[in-house]
Symmetry: C2
Subunit: 116 residues, 2 copies
């Protein structure tokens, strides 16, 4: 398993939860403190902190502490890994569909010739 594979595991896993996606969505609008992130989530603070740990491990967010306040920031670059992976898969299907289309066209051209 490559490092890249582990990074993909972490990003996909981090996004497989509605509360973590809500945090990502909120941080897209700008940095926020842990308290601000916790407010709309209606869950205990330790649970929120666990979600933030999962997001930090995936590198989708980073945080820094100033005095007693920890502020979280989105790291959009982490999305690139999964977008790139999906793009690679799409390229494979599309090449396959193109080949199938070309093959069907060959058959239909042959059919037309024989029909003449």
């Amino acid at each position: 398993m490559t490092n890249n594979s582990v990074a993909l595991d972490r990003v996909f896993h981090a996004l497989a939860d509605p509360s973590r996606r809500a945090i990502v969505q909120r941080l897209g609008r700008g940095p926020a403190s842990v308290g601000e992130l916790a407010k709309p989530l209606a869950m205990a603070l330790p649970t929120v902190l666990q979600h933030l740990q999962v997001l930090e491990a995936s590198k989708l967010i980073r945080s820094e502490k100033a005095g007693r306040v920890r502020t979280c920031h989105l790291e959009p670059a982490a999305f690139s890994s999964i977008e790139q992976w999906i793009g690679q898969q799409r390229a494979v299907w599309e090449a396959r569909l193109d080949r199938m289309e070309a093959y069907v066209k060959t058959l239909s051209d042959k059919g037309t010739k024989h029909g003449k």
Copy 2:
């Protein structure tokens, strides 16, 4: 939690595992039997079947049985949900970056005026 949110949970969860991603990657090249999918994975058949169940629950793949052979097919449409979600997030960050850029430009224009 909406149905769409559950669907996103399932697709992100399904892709958060290297063996499941390898299966998706293989099926991108065309349908395959469970036996063919299991061969390169070096794991017990029940484990492979569990991975296939997770992928089917996410609607990334579908399978059908003819006689004793179960054949799996990729369903690229299931990728659209996560691509759409990432696209929505990207639109929010980009709008924010554009606003920040415009603001910085305003400040630098003001600076130029005062400098004259």
